[in-house]
Symmetry: C2
Subunit: 114 residues, 2 copies
DNA sequence: TTGCGTTATGTTCCGCTGTGCATTACGCTT
DNA sequence: AAGCGTAATGCACAGCGGAACATAACGCAA
């Protein structure tokens, strides 16, 4: 049966300056790994470059080791690559996110509303 | 020790039209129970009456039985009282909210970021 | 030296959410 | 009949986050 009410929610990881990792930020990191540049990553998820750059900057500032290494100029104009710290950040968030999803699904079953 | 990163999050209960119960909505219901009117409840939490009324209306539309019964005119100009269904809604949300808080605290301990 | 594509950064614009204000309806009290 | 404090509802305005646009800096290639 389809139930009338469902529990929903969001989670993110906070760092020294506020949000450090969230769903969108982590997807952005994955797109950077895939495309090799902030520009292409942003375009692939229909996000403005301006916004994507700010997110990457925020993550880099709050991480002990940068999650993305950027280069300007040169062959292809430059680019951005995910670091090992970036890989760990992605894994850390998805792990918590999976647990959160499981919690939501399970807790929705226990909702007690007539 | 104070850790560098913490898991944060929000939860709410969705109904047929979108958000049905969230933190602010449930506090509003409690204030209505306490003050006996939407006007006083809204003022007590520094929310505009306009907004508070819309939230109550949204909750009433999505609940099988209204969570708040309103009356206009009469002694004192009217007012609003929490129904039994409203009480159950409050209890249902806080119960899920407590479990969520416990999940967040516990999961924060397991965060694995250098 | 010119061209290219990217990073970097400021400025303006838009859409959404909630506030603030004005007005009406209501029903008890005096 | 007049006054009151509330619910109900429309409309203009403000604040904010992100989008869109415009440049500049950079470094390799041709």
């Amino acid at each position: 049966m389809t139930q009338r009410y469902r529990l929903h929610g969001r989670v993110w990881i906070e760092g020294p300056e506020g949000t450090f990792l969230g769903y969108g930020r982590v997807v952005l990191l994955e797109r950077i790994r895939e495309h090799g540049s902030i520009t292409a990553a942003a375009r692939s998820m229909e996000m403005s470059y301006r916004h994507a750059w700010k997110l990457v900057d925020s993550m880099n500032r709050q991480s002990r080791c940068p999650v993305v290494e950027k280069s300007t100029g040169g062959r292809g104009g430059g680019g951005a690559v995910l670091t090992e710290a970036g890989e760990r950040a992605i894994a850390c968030f998805w792990s918590a996110y999976r647990d959160f999803k499981a919690f939501i699904d399970e807790r929705t079953q226990k909702l007690d509303l007539s």
